[in-house]
Structures are given as structure tokens and as C-alpha cells.
């Protein structure tokens, strides 16, 4: 009798056994789950150590800031159902508050960052409150306009440093502290938000995105939960902004630049919306590319915009979703 062969999934049997508590059954199942996550964490942590120059190490810090923004966008868009077209709004608010706290009140960076995060989140949520009871279109419109308008207002009124910005902001104790702080923050919030969306309150957010009428019929105030979601997302953005001004030691209207609004969205669509880790990885791809394109001026924005448009129009699933699918589909030939 001739030998028969068939294709078999590499993870045949393993994937099913990794659901829930059963994952602790054996090392094989454990590693199936933890290996990708370990690779991610170790990879990101090692990055500043293996990169050659100070310039590229700073790029890693900037990547992490964008990653926070991308996390915020993905959470808001795919887990709460609100599309924010103006991440720069959060960065700017957080950044300016941290700058003021540092220069006018003399607070240390390790204090300004948390305070700016919370205060910034409160301010952003309050400013976005009017469009929360309405259809999602209005949220998109208003978030798109706030950064454009705030930049103009600061420039026109010449407050908060005007076009020159606020200078002389303290930086973190050292380069290493700076890098590892933001890396730690990204990892913390990445795993934190992933945990959050599986908690009961995370389920409520997802329900609001899925079907807000049913949530209302269950006796819950949808606007309150949307506001909570916006608070969390804007907190992430303000955190990024606060760290950013301490990295650059300067805060100006460029915090409201389109980069901060568009790049997280592009990173999300490339990395895979809804996966939370995809957008972070997307930033690791896009930010270095944009640094390389910096020589070409605003062409990089054209570049992001075109990518964004292509993904939105062709509804691609993104790298992470594609990758997860493939990870679960590696096959090998086995004898039957």
C-alpha cells in the first residue's frame, strides 16, 4: 500500500487546548501562547540596546509615543465605536499642560506627566462631550477640527508661547530613563487595554459599538460609557504628549500637526484594526519610514494619506490579522 500523506496544521490540537485555564496543562501549550508575546516584549526592550546611534534611539522613543496614540485610536474606533480623526488634539493638550506645569510651576517631569495625563483627559473629554450623544459622524468631524482650530487659536492669540512655543522644558534624568520609560508605558498600556476590553466594562464598550440601542434598552446611559471610553483614549494621548514635550524639551503648535492625527490611523489600518498590538507594530514600521522621508518635506503626509485611503477603500485586514491567521495555519505534511 502506498504511503498517504496529508497536510496537517502545526498547531493541531494545541490551539484548542490553550483556551482558558487549560493553557497551563503543559509547556507546549504555554509556549504557544507566551512565545509571541515574549518575542514582542523582548524585541521592544532590546531595541534601544542594539540600535547604533543616539538618533535612532530617539526614534524609538518617538515610535512609542505614536504607539500610545495608535492604541488610543484603535481602542476608541474598534472597541467603543468612535473614530477620532484628530489624535493631535490629545497630544497637544497633554503636551501643553505638561509644559506649563514644568515651566511655570516648576514641577519635575515625573510629576508633570501623570498630572498632565489626567487633567488633559478631563479637558479633552469635556470638550468632546457635546458630540457624544450624536451619531459617530459628528465625533469624527469635531475631532478632526479641534487640532486645526487650536493651532490657529494659539497662533492668533499668541498665548502659551504662540508660534515660538514654550521652551526650556526639563527633560528626563537620562536618555536611558527616557527610552525605557516610554517603552514601559507602551507595554503596560498595550497589555492593560487588552485586559480591559475583556473585563465586564470592556464588554459594555464593545456592546456600545455593536448596538447602542440594545445597551440603552438594558438601562445603561450610553453617553456615559462613551465619555468613559473617550477619557481613557484621551488619557493615553495626553500621556504621549506629556512625554513628548519632555523628550523634545519644547512645546509648540507643531504638537497639533497632522502627523499625530494621520499616522496613528495609518498605523492602525496597516497593523490591523481591533488587535491593539497591530497598531503598535504599525507604528514601528511607519515612524522610521517617515523619518527617512523627512527629507522630502510634507510628502510624508501625502504618503500616509495615500496609504490610509488605499486601506480604507480596499478594506484590507491589516498585518496583524493576516499574521494571526497565518500563525494558526502553518502546515506540515504528515504520514497517514
Amino acid at each position: 500500500m502506498t504511503e498517504q500523506r496529508r497536510k496537517e496544521r502545526l498547531d493541531r490540537g494545541i490551539k484548542v487546548r490553550t483556551d482558558g485555564l487549560y493553557a497551563l496543562m503543559s509547556w507546549r501549550e504555554l509556549s504557544y501562547l507566551t512565545l509571541p508575546r515574549l518575542v514582542l516584549i523582548l524585541g521592544i526592550i532590546m531595541l534601544p540596546l542594539i540600535l547604533p546611534s543616539l538618533y535612532w534611539q530617539r526614534v524609538v522613543s518617538i515610535v512609542c509615543i505614536y504607539a500610545l496614540l495608535a492604541l488610543s485610536f484603535d481602542f476608541l474606533a474598534h472597541y467603543v465605536g468612535l473614530v477620532s480623526l484628530g489624535g493631535a488634539f490629545f497630544i497637544g493638550v497633554g503636551g501643553y499642560i505638561a509644559a506649563i506645569l514644568n515651566t511655570s510651576f516648576g514641577l519635575h517631569p515625573l510629576l508633570t506627566v501623570p498630572i498632565a495625563t489626567v487633567c488633559g483627559a478631563v479637558i479633552c473629554t469635556v470638550l468632546l462631550l457635546p458630540c457624544l450623544p450624536l451619531r459617530g459622524v459628528y465625533f469624527a468631524i469635531v475631532t478632526l477640527m479641534y487640532p486645526l482650530l487650536l493651532a490657529r487659536v494659539i497662533e492668533a492669540l499668541d498665548i502659551l508661547g504662540g508660534t515660538d512655543g514654550i521652551m526650556g522644558i526639563e527633560s528626563f534624568p537620562s536618555q536611558r530613563v527616557e527610552e525605557y520609560l516610554v517603552i514601559a508605558l507602551v507595554l503596560l498600556f498595550l497589555f492593560g487595554v487588552r485586559r480591559l476590553v475583556n473585563l465586564d466594562i470592556g464588554l459594555v464598550f464593545r456592546a456600545v459599538k455593536d448596538n447602542d440601542q440594545a445597551v440603552r434598552a438594558s438601562g445603561m446611559n450610553v453617553t456615559y460609557y462613551k465619555a468613559l471610553g473617550v477619557f481613557i483614549a484621551s488619557g493615553l494621548g495626553c500621556l504621549g504628549g506629556a512625554c513628548l514635550v519632555h523628550i523634545y524639551m519644547w512645546s509648540g503648535i507643531s504638537l497639533f500637526a497632522l502627523d499625530f492625527s494621520i499616522l496613528p490611523i495609518a498605523a492602525t489600518v496597516i497593523g490591523g484594526g481591533g488587535t491593539l498590538v497591530g497598531p503598535v507594530l504599525g507604528c514601528f514600521i511607519l515612524v522610521p519610514v517617515s523619518e527617512l522621508l523627512r527629507a522630502f518635506g510634507t510628502l510624508r503626509i501625502v504618503f500616509y494619506a495615500l496609504i490610509l485611503m488605499a486601506f480604507v477603500v480596499f478594506r484590507s485586514e491589516g498585518l496583524m490579522v493576516y499574521g494571526t491567521r497565518k500563525y494558526q495555519q502553518f502546515e506540515r505534511w504528515v504520514k497517514v
Binding site: 465586564d200 464588554l203 440601542q213 440603552r216 434598552a217
Partner: protein, 262 residues
């Protein structure tokens, strides 16, 4: 059955642009009732449910729940007071598994206050209690059914899931919008004991239905609507004997002779 109505609908009128959906509709619902609302398509049945539960504001008229006015209040406040509803076009949370669908109403302020159905409103209990509720509702516990994604469940289960979502709130009144539609005879047969059990728990039910035979098995009073107005009300026998009801559904005498329900 107490003397005070639990739900009072008083002269409710609703216009959508040029369309008069409800025209000075008035009726009462008493505690412990199973009230059926019937009428041909377009008679305004779903609109009155929307008005009662706050999804649509009446153009005029008032609605009272336990003596307190609820007309014009937002839907989540009305649900919080104890008036739950199902949706005619089913709306489970498709992206979540079936039992997680129940975690959301168990998370609501009302569940936290009242303890929720079977105590599910308590912190930490929600996932386990939701499986219990689903079992009570008719999902087979030992099978995978409660864990399936809501998007992959057949209609019969989804209808029950809708009811379960209402139950989780420990409501006083459930407004069922066509729960029997789309179900086979055996599925309806298995839902009838469930409804009787709900009635025994003290929940008042208002059921909009087209499946009259099944409805009359459970309903103790029926309101007939036509063109947004109340045509008549009474027990199921009284209502079916009324020639106007037959005319509303079937048109003129000749046709109704042929197609009458027994």
C-alpha cells in the same frame, strides 16, 4: 390583579412627518397581565412600544409607569425603572458570545441595585450567572450553545437571548415585540411554558404578536389596534368574536369567511 394600572397609556399620538402613526391611543396594563397587542401591519404596534420605552417621543399624550410619568424620558432611564423590551429586528451583540451578551445587562445600574436576575448583578458572578439564566431560558447547558458567538446562533435561540437580556434586568414589565415570529411550531411550544413561568414570577408581559393562536394561549387580555387607534379590547374570545377585528385583518366579509381562525 390590582386596581392601579402598572402601565397607563393616555391619549398618545405620534406623527412622523406626514404620517399619523398613533392616534389618541389609550389603554391600561395591570400588574400580572399578559396583554396581547394585535393588529394588521402598520397599525402602530411597534411605535407604541417605542413610545413606552422611550426610543420615540410621543407627539402628544402621556404614559405612566406605576403612576410616574415616563413619556419623554430617555430609554435608559425607563429601562432602569423596570420596563424592558425586546426588539422586533433582533439585536444581539453579534461580536460577543451568547453568554457574554447577558453580562452587559447584568452590569447595568438596575441589576446592581436589585441584584439582577438570580443574583447576577453582583460583582464577579456575572459570567456564571449568565450561563444559569441561559439554561433557564432554554439553552442547553452541557452543550456548547451558550458559548457560541451570537452571530452563529439560529433564530429560535436569538429570540430567547433577547428575552434573557430583558430578564437579566429583573424587570417589572417586559414588552415583547413579536417574539413568536420566525419560530417553528415546536419552538413556540417550548416558549409558552417560559412565558407562563415569567408570569408566575410576577412579571407583567405585553406581547405584540401576529401568531394569534399561540398568543391567545397565554394572553389574558388583548388590545386590537388599527391605523394607530385602539379598535377594541377585551379577552381573546370577545376580541375574536368582534367582526370589526376580522375586517381590520382580512378586509371585507366574503374573504374573512374563508380565512378565519378557528
Amino acid at each position: 390583579m390590582s386596581a392601579e394600572p402598572i402601565l397607563e397609556i393616555r391619549e398618545v399620538t405620534k406623527t412622523f412627518g406626514g404620517i399619523l402613526a398613533l392616534n389618541r391611543l389609550s389603554f391600561n396594563v395591570y400588574q400580572g397581565d399578559v396583554l396581547g397587542i394585535i393588529g394588521p401591519n402598520g397599525s402602530g404596534k411597534t411605535t407604541i412600544v417605542n413610545c413606552i420605552t422611550g426610543f420615540v417621543k410621543p407627539s402628544s399624550g402621556r404614559i405612566f409607569f406605576r403612576g410616574k410619568e415616563i413619556s419623554g424620558k430617555p430609554p435608559h432611564k425607563i429601562a432602569d425603572m423596570g420596563v424592558a423590551r425586546t426588539f422586533q429586528i433582533m439585536r444581539p451583540y453579534y461580536s460577543l458570545p451568547a453568554y457574554k451578551n447577558l453580562v452587559i445587562p447584568l452590569f447595568s445600574p438596575r441589576s446592581k441595585r436589585t441584584g439582577g436576575w438570580r443574583g447576577g448583578g453582583k460583582l464577579g458572578d456575572r459570567n456564571t450567572v449568565s450561563i444559569d439564566i441561559l439554561e433557564e431560558i432554554g439553552f442547553e447547558r452541557d452543550s456548547y450553545v451558550p458559548y457560541k458567538m451570537a452571530s452563529s446562533l439560529p433564530t429560535g435561540y436569538l429570540k430567547r437571548l433577547e428575552l434573557a437580556r430583558c430578564l437579566a434586568l429583573k424587570p417589572d414589565v417586559i414588552l415583547c415585540d413579536e417574539v413568536f415570529s420566525g419560530l417553528s411550531m415546536s419552538e413556540i411550544a417550548s416558549m409558552v411554558p417560559l412565558i407562563e413561568r415569567l408570569q408566575m414570577e410576577g412579571i407583567t408581559l405585553v406581547m405584540i404578536e401576529h401568531r394569534l393562536r399561540e398568543l391567545f394561549r397565554v394572553a389574558n387580555r388583548v388590545v386590537v389596534m388599527n391605523f394607530g387607534e385602539k379598535l377594541t379590547e377585551g379577552t381573546s374570545e370577545e376580541v375574536m368574536a368582534d367582526p370589526r377585528v376580522k375586517e381590520a385583518y382580512f378586509g371585507s366579509e366574503e374573504i374573512s369567511e374563508v380565512m378565519t381562525y378557528a
